[in-house]
Each structure stands twice: as structure tokens, then as C-alpha cells.
Symmetry: D2
Subunit: 357 residues, 4 copies
């Protein structure tokens, strides 16, 4: 299943070291005039090789647009296809591993399912696939922006360093247009933690906070397509994600009902708001007009600079050599991907629900 | 959207105080001989009014089977429809609230979306809807049992009492057929915490641990229908769920890659296993044959025995009267629902994937 | 697969002689005030036992509404479930046939697919299933009526009697609000043909003409959900349908391009119209604002009052006894079902497409 | 909606004169060793410019494979993406028509739906889109061939010339492996009819006969995904299709039930067969193991070499100039497209149903 979404659908394709990576975005309304500079800025945020903290692989990663856009840059309502060639692939680096199952990777499970696996660069299981998500969302977020809906994500944890004050602020001082830059005070500490892991040849986990503002009340479907269920599915589809929580989140398990009741009131324009936001902007699976926020936890990059024992396809025990290059903290590079999947989910909810009004 | 699943689909219907609650299960293979006693046992686990800790509403809740089953109790391959009448509804209890939006409930958001709301008993947003999920899963789990796949859930946290040793055991001492009864040592403490909340007129959150054993390696779809993404979506579709984590879970964010590598080896039958199970039985979205486990956090029941300020539909501030009856810990009653959604998700993955082999 | 539609979805259930027949309609907008008298009128049109020309089975067929409707009769936006009990089933009539495969029925193929079959009254393959379609559409057509969209079907052929002038009129004298009553001049002749077949113990085929008026231009999706492709799928899902044609239809195969060009012009209100309507109101899969019309051909009822040779499940050749009761012309009873499926298809197209504007 | 299929899904993209045309095929099992020479042969059958009877546009049309295939040419189970650049586009030819709505084309309706239209070469509505269907099916048919399932289509009507004896033979002399080459006796006459239309600057309609052999009994879903309903939807999604009929087809409307009963018997291997095949190989929406056959009618190419009156976007009446080049009989070029859509539909049915066994 390589398609995401119901009325706005993204189908992606491509193996890490195959000919190309790309996607087809279907269902975006016609008439959107695309700002391609903004698209490039979004893609640049995801690009590897940007700092000492991420992989050394350098790729220009400018997508080629194949369809769905008029010569003037306006969406036609037809599917928008795009792709980028894979370059700098160093597939030979992977030859040594062709028969081995790398721990915590998808090597063994792909073989269990398909009986065959493209071992070069992780094949389809590589995070390279997320390129297509970021490209598609770079267009879709412009459609959301026209409706004053904004999506923002930041790294809010790397190893032992975590930025919990973000959530305290969002719960207790809800505004209709908050920002996540409160995390910036800890950015340096988080980057230092990543650098330490890298220096040790190890990797560390991390977490990403997301904030959606401007979404009106009434979006999302009750029961099986609850807005937060769609967000959870979207987030858990990102490589290395291990947990999702929204609003009060996992801490809800130890909370009191009276203490966490979000009391309804009105603002100066007689809009309905709540005085706190333990609910995370969603009640009963439908947006309530308050900011939506959630957190996603990512495991450490499985690839480490240390040799590990493992099995080959024919069940021989071997030593997997230490890797030459890797991202020590996948959460850092996941930030724009988390944003992208949020954008796609919110836009799909809007395009699925507005006909009900 | 009131349908769950891709190749095995459950469509549910019904409002809490409407004529009936039920569902249609489509896609279950023909030829399964249903054990109706077992179905009744499963339904009984969910039924309200079982102890002082859950709501006083008493319902027999025996489903009426409408289709899809032969006179001998064998599935025909056609849709299995079932329903139960709503009784003991006390809709009058809700009349006072007809124009009020109860805090942390879906009253306001349903109105924002639909412009109309069945206020009686929470309407479609009531946890009563989960009855249909438990009934459907009570059949489907029999189909899984024939394949030696078992699903088990337990309460693993209620308020301040949590049972983290479950997860330590599952990670560090993986066996192919573990059980969750390790939680039983704390059952009394958890129930006491719930009783305290009830006595105080308050409610508390809780969490539920789930274990799936017997699922072979190779089930689940990479990229957008990752097995854990489907599980996350399923869990977050349950009323009051606020967070989902599998394997190492949220703790992955602070972990080291080297320390959490699940090393592949073989057991005495030359089956591939891992020496630890930080991965939670899923790698790259596909099962690896090890036990799958995850945890779901639930918020406290929004209904409490204390009056709260709120708004009416026309934005007047009023006092919502204290409720007469409620479940102080929704997580307790969610246990069989969590199991049911796990059963449906795993069976759908099996029915979606096996043709690939 | 027992669900029809994308954004407006009807899931049906029930075997002919099982406990009940019914459906769940999901996705209909909230706020529609249902006229239940009109629903009953629509259901009455389909009911068997209405004349000497249709089966003698008598059923009251009043649906019980299970969910999705407020006590005042207003749609809640939640799934509308309904059912009716099966009565007057005479299952014993079918015992003799339990092991035989009736020619041109689905007995053999159900067994080939499922390995089991409910032989009583045709089980799930019975036209009784169409009851649920008519009930659901009886509500949905009220939603269409509010938008001035009307759907009308008539019998336009029974055995040798056919009413081709309907189509000539629709092509050459297009108006925005035509009617199909031109067929009425031949109704008597068609009924006489059916009566002759019945008297001979035989059955005859027939065809049904459909007209949709009031649908604005721009509805339908190009490429794979072309409006006429959705209509074709819907029509061919009706029992005994063997062919579908719209606009010029099968006759297109022998036509000239110049002679059948629908020339664009404007009416007195500057609306775009075409001077002829060979296109049948759809161009490129999207409505063009002109009346949509099409025809569906139905085979003769397979059940006849004559004994036929056939096989049993274990491949013995036997004589299938002549049937006691049957509809000699299934097309006659298909008229309201054809209307119902058209209503569902058009409403789904509207609910899928309007967000694009 | 640019995706076809349920478990085997083809998503296509591209405008006629945009950068590229292509598709993504998702759900094909892993392990198929692709014969690329055979793929090229299939594509060559569709290519324009092959004879004096089809458009002069010449394209090499060799697809570039972007993903899903191992370096050895084996399917990986991941999405297979492919594309071809558009060349020889002569977009200038279309500039004169940019503001005009060509009769019987989708110009007006695309604008009604999207408010914007790529007028160059018909944009997304061009038959050029079918290239992607033929490429995808060229792979999928190899997977069918391994199961001894074969799909064959031929032109069986062009203007006044029709080859009805094909159907008489298929009905009355059913064999398990017939061929359609009976049509070849009339090929010359059909080509002559096309040549006459071309010489006259006109176009003519045509029809295509299809035969599927080797499909076992039990494939297809009853009720809403009946095998013939899926085939009807698939056929009507092809440009210019106006009608679909299977088995007895439209002629069923005038038939007698007794005369058209397909009597069950067994062949020398004790396989269940029928002595005639009025049913067209499908009963109750499920294959019965006999050959499946159907016919699709196509309208004449709307583009003709004669000027016609029409409207501009601002409702001025103008004269549409005669076209410079066109296919006088779209049915001729539709033959491989009809085959392709049949292949995709049958394979999807197999991949959707076999888990029921």
C-alpha cells in the first residue's frame, strides 16, 4: 500500500538506489498558483548533508514536475506527478550487506514478506522515500496557507535533552496563534547531544512536536477517521516512529478528570474557545478550533558505527561491519517529514469533510 | 466515516439512545464455525454494570444476528450483520444538557461539524458504539485462533499506579508465547485507585497493554499501511485514547542505538528470533515473528460528579450539573475494546497481505 | 464487497430467507428532514406481489430505522441503518434444490467461491438484496430533489416490444426537463408480452431507460471515475443486468462523427446547451448540464415453469423441477432498483466532486 | 480520481502535451521476472502512426522504468513507476482552439469542473493517457499468463461492418480455449470502411470484442464488485466508450428464459461446464470457469476534417477549423487498451478474492 489519503491521495514510488524517487498527488483542487521558490525552501529543509549532524550524501533533490501543472504554474486539478533521479548512490557500500539482515532495519521483514529485497541503500524501506512526501506537502501547504492554516514542527527532544515546557505552555496558555519557538532555547543542547552520540559512534532517539493553527472547528470525522486517528496513522507511517500522543498524551493516563477539564468560554469576538487545551484541539475526533498539537517519538538510527553480530539469509551468524556514514538522530531529519504528513492529513480532512456543511 | 478496515471491513451504526447499536462485518472468509458461547463471553467482558467501578447501566447486550451465518452457525462469506436494541436509556437524564456543551466531550464539535446533535446519552459519540467492535471481533478472533494467533490486553495503569515491568519483561526476556498476567499483581492497587477517584467524584486516566502472539513474520505493508500505523489508527479511534506507543515506545526518544539493537539469532528449530524485542515485533512496518506489544493511554472520563461551568449553544455561560452515574476510569472498560480493535487490525492485515506470497 | 460508493457509501446485508435484509447508508449530509411517506411510496414501487406479472410473495417491507435519524426525522450525519425482517419465506420450497445448481443462477459460482451456499431463496444472490438499495435511495433522492435533480426510469422493452422512440426524442429534441412518459403508449403491449411469457411458463428479458435531469455541468471525475463508468458499474451490479449503454450507446459503433456532433449554443438565459444530445449529457466523464440518459438490458428470469436438466453438487445429472412462482420479466421489477442505483451514483458524484469548486 | 483497482492499483498521470505520461502500478506480487521484449510488443500494438488509418503522430513510446524492479528485471513487490516523455507535440496546432470548446470533446466539461483546462492536445482528456494503462497491463498480463489466463481483443465492428458471428460461435459452441480470429475474415472490410470515412473527412464508430480464457470458477465478488460490473466500469473508463454488454448482452432484452438456459454438465475430466454460454462466463458476478466474453462500443472520433460551429469560453459563436490529423476510428486504436483494462480488472479480482479460499 503506497497511497496515503482518502480524497487527497499521495502515491509514492522509488527505491533508495533505484532510478528515481517520486510521487503522484491526486485530488488537489485546480487553480492554485504554485510558489516554486517556497517549494524549494521546503525541500531544502529535508535535504541530507546539510550539517555535520546528518548524512554526508549530497543530492540536489530538485524535483522534475511531470504533470498536473499548467505552463504558468497553476494546478490543473489533474494528478501532479514529480520525481528526482537518485545520484551519489554508492551502492557498492551495500554489497557487503546484501545477504545480511541489519538489526532494527527492515531487511529481514521485507524478505519475509516479498521473498526478495533491494538491499542497495535500504531499497524501498529507506528514509529516502520521505522525499516524495515533503515535495507533495510543499504544494499542499500553500493551499492550506490560503485558508490561514499553518503547520509547524520542531525537534523537542534528542536523547536525554527534552523540551517539555512547550506542552505546558500550549495546555495552560492557549492562544489561537502560538508558535513552537520556545524550543529554540534548547536547540543547542539537543544538537550537542546528537554530536556526542555521533562522536561515540552511537545514535540517539528524539522527538518532534507539531502545532497546527487556523483549522476551524468541525473538521475530522467521528468514529473511524477521527482526526487524531488519521494523524496517528500518518505519523506512524514515518520511518523509525515509535509513539504518538496528542493533547495531554500519555500523561493522560495519570491525570484527574476534574483537573483536566477544558472549560468552554468565548473570546472578545464571541468565538468559542477553551480556557485550557488539554484536549489538544480535538474532541471526539473533530477539531474544536483551538490549536492542535501532538508529539512523535523516534527511535535511534539503527545504523551505528560499531560492528554487530547478525544473521545471513541462510542463517549463518556473521559480523555486520560498522557503517561508514549515517544520521545519528533520525528525529532531526524527520522534522520536515512530520510537518509534511501533518499537512497532507489536515488537507485530506478538509477535502473529505467540507461537503457536509 | 464509519467503516474500519480494507479487506476485512467493519461498518458500525447506532446512537447511544437511538433504537439500536450494531454493525456489518464484511470480508471474513466463509466456512468458520462460530462458537457463540465464546462470543457471549467476549461481550460480557465489555458489558457495563459489572462492578462498582463501572457504570450502573445494565444491558443484556446479546446481539441479534441478522445475516451472513448459516442456520448451523457457519460463516457464509457474505456480510455478517448484527444489532442489539438500546434499553434502560434514561434519556430524560440528558434533557437538562440538551443545549449545553459538556467539557471534554464531543458535544460542541459534533454541532460544529453537523449543525445538529443527538444529545441523548452522547449520541453517536458514546462509548456504546464500541459494543459493535467487540461483537465483530468476538467472531474474528476465532478465525485468528485457528491460525494460533492470540490477542490479549490488560489494564496496565490507573492514575498513579502503573505496571511498567510488563514492558521490561517483554523487551528483555522475549519468548514466543508470553502472557500479560504479570500485571495481575497490581490489579488490586489499580482498582483501589479507581475506587478512590469514584469516591471523590473525580475520574482518572489509565493505560492498556496489548500483546499479540503467533503472528508469522511478513505481515503488514511497508510505507503507508505499516502494521503499527494501522494499529495506531485503530487504537486512536477508541473513545478517550490520547496516545499510542509500540516496542520501545516514547522511551525510544531517549535511547541509544547500540543499546537497543535487537540481535538476530535462531532458536532450536532454526526459526529466526531476536535476543531482545525493543522493536515490538515489527520492523519496517512488517511483523518479524516476535511478539507484538504496545500501549494505549486513555484520558479520565470527562463526566465527573462535580458541577462545572460551560456554554450553551447560544453562548450563555451556565453550570453543568454533576452527573449521576459514570465510569470513573474509561481505560478499565476499554480493555476489551482495545483487544477487539487489535483483532480486527491483525485480521485485516492477514487478509490484505497473504495473496502476496 | 458489499459496499457501494466512495463518499456516500451504502453497505447492504442479508440473505433472502435469513433473519433480515437491510443496509447502512454513510456519508449523507446532516440536516435533511425526511419525508417518510415518500420513502414508503418508493418502497411500494419495488414490492413484489403487486400484480399478476410479478411474484406472489407478499411482504409489507416497511423498514425499521435503527440509527442516524433524530426523533424529529432529521438526518444526523451519522450512519443511517435500517432493516426489514424476512417473512413468508417458504424455505421448504427450496429444500428440493439444496444440492442442485439451477441454470443461469449463482448457485454453482457461490459454491465455487465460498465452498458453502445458503440455498434458501437464493441466499445473498436473491434480488431481495435490492430492497436495501431502494430504501437507501428513497432517502437520498430527497436530498437530490432539494437540488432540483430528478431521476426517472421506465420499462422500455419487454421481449419483442421495444420503445426506441424515447431515445430518438432525447437525442434530437433535447430539453432541459424532458420526461420518459413517451414510453407509456407501449406499456400495455409490454405487459401483454410479459403475460404471454408467463402463460407459456417461460420468461422474457427487458430493458429499462433512465433519465437524469437537473444535474449541473461539471460533475463526475475524468479518467477512472468517469460519471458514465460509475453508472455502468452501478447498473451492472443489479441482478440479471447484461448490458449498459448511454447517449448514442451501442449504436455509436455504426455512426458517423460529423452526423453525431453535438453543437454547442446558448439558450435564452445564456446557459450553454447543445442542439442535439448524442453525448447523453456526459462528455469526458463529466456532466455537461444536458439531460443524462442511458439504457440497461436485463436477461429473462432464470427461473421458469419448466423442468430442466442440471447437476448436483456431486456432479450427478438430475432434473430440476419446474418452479412454483416467479417473475417472468425481471426488468419490470428492476425499474425502481435502476432508479435507486442511479440516485446513489449521482449523489456520490456530487459529494465527491463539489469540494473541487 | 486517477487510480484504478482495489488490491492491484494503477495510478496514472500526465497531459497529452505536458512533460510526460506515466503511471504507478501498486500491488503486483513480487518475484515476477519481466519479459521486456513482450512489454515492447504490447506497447507497439497501441502506438499511433502505424498505418494510414491512425494518427500521424510518431512516438517511440519506450517507457522508462523508475522503480519496483530489481536490476535483474524481477518485480520487488513495491510500486512499479514508469513514464515516457511527450515528443512531437505540435502544441501550436492547438493554439487556435485554446478558447473554443470542440464538440463531443471534454473541453467544456473540464472547464465546468476545474475552471481551467490544458487545451494542448486535449490535456488529460487525451487518449494519450491510455498509454500508461497499456504499459502497466503489459507487465500484469505476464503474471496472468503464468496462471494460464489469457486476454484477447479484436475489432469486431467499424461503421456498417460488424462481425456478429463471433458471439454466435462463443454462445453455441463453447470451448474452454476459443480464439477471436474468426473476426479476421472481416478485417479487410472493416479497414476499408475506416479508409472511406477518412477519405470523406469523417469518422466512424466501432466495437471491440474481448475474450478471457483460463480464469477458474469462483473469481469475482457478488453484489457490488460483480466481475462484470468491474469490467463495465473498466471499459467505460476508456475514452469514447458508449456501451458495454457481456454474454447475451443487449440482446438479452428480447430473449426467452427457457431458450437461453445454460445447462450444466461435465467434460471428460469431470470439470463442470455448460453446454451453451449465454451467461458469458459469469453468473451472479462470479466466474463459472467458462470463457468470458463481452463487447464495447465506441463512438466516432469527435475530431473530423470539416469545420463545425461552436462556442468560445465567453459564449461567442465561432467556426472550429477542420482538424489536420486524426484517427478516423478510435475503436481501432482502442483494441489494446480494451485488452489492457481487462487484464488489470481480472488480475485485481484474482488478488482481491483468492484469500477467501
Amino acid at each position: 500500500m503506497n497511497t496515503f489519503g482518502r480524497n487527497l491521495r499521495l502515491t509514492t514510488f522509488g527505491e533508495s538506489h533505484g532510478p528515481a524517487i517520486g510521487g503522484v498527488l491526486d485530488g488537489l483542487p485546480a487553480g492554485l498558483c504554485i510558489d516554486f521558490d517556497e517549494v524549494r525552501r521546503q525541500i531544502a529543509r529535508r535535504r541530507p548533508g546539510q550539517s555535520a549532524l546528518t548524512t554526508a550524501r549530497t543530492e540536489t533533490d530538485i524535483p522534475e514536475w511531470l504533470s498536473g501543472i499548467s505552463p504558468d504554474g497553476i494546478t490543473l486539478g489533474t494528478p501532479i506527478a514529480f520525481m528526482t533521479r537518485n545520484r551519489d548512490q554508492r551502492s557498492k557500500d551495500y554489497e557487503a550487506w546484501a545477504d545480511m539482515w541489519r538489526p532494527n532495519h527492515a531487511d529481514f521483514t521485507y524478505e519475509a514478506r516479498y521473498g526478495i529485497r533491494d538491499h542497495r541503500g535500504g531499497g524501498r524501506a529507506s528514509a529516502r522515500e520521505t522525499y516524495a512526501r515533503v515535495v507533495a506537502a510543499a504544494i499542499v501547504r500553500q493551499w492550506l496557507s490560503l485558508r490561514n492554516i499553518n503547520v509547524e514542527a520542531v525537534l523537542c527532544g534528542a536523547g536525554e535533552v527534552t523540551v517539555d515546557e512547550i506542552f505546558d505552555t500550549l495546555i495552560h496558555h492557549p492562544k489561537l496563534s502560538p508558535h513552537l519557538n520556545i524550543a529554540s532555547s534548547q536547540t543547542e543542547a539537543m544538537h550537542a547531544a546528537i554530536a556526542r552520540a555521533k562522536a561515540a559512534g552511537d545514535s540517539i532517539g528524539g522527538s518532534v512536536a507539531v502545532l497546527v493553527t487556523g483549522l476551524p472547528a468541525g473538521i475530522g470525522s467521528p468514529v473511524y477517521a477521527k482526526l487524531h486517528a488519521c494523524l496517528a496513522e500518518a505519523m506512524m507511517s514515518i520511518n523509525a516512529a515509535k509513539g504518538f500522543e496528542y493533547g495531554l498524551g500519555m500523561a493522560a493516563a495519570t491525570a484527574s478528570g476534574i483537573a483536566t477539564a477544558d472549560i468552554f468560554t468565548t473570546d472578545s469576538n464571541d468565538n468559542v474557545i477553551t480556557t485550557t487545551n488539554y484536549s489538544g484541539g480535538i474532541q471526539g475526533g473533530i477539531s474544536n478550533g483551538m490549536p492542535i498539537y501532538f508529539r512523535v517519538a523516534f527511535k535511534p538510527t539503527p545504523t551505528v558505527m560499531q560492528s554487530l553480530p547478525t544473521l545471513t539469509r541462510d542463517h549463518r551468524t556473521v559480523t555486520l561491519p560498522a557503517s561508514g556514514r549515517h544520521d545519528p538522530c533520525v528525529a532531526l531529519r524527520a522534522v520536515p517529514v512530520v510537518e509534511a504528513m501533518t499537512v497532507l492529513t489536515i488537507a485530506d480532512a478538509l477535502l473529505s469533510d467540507t461537503f457536509y456543511r
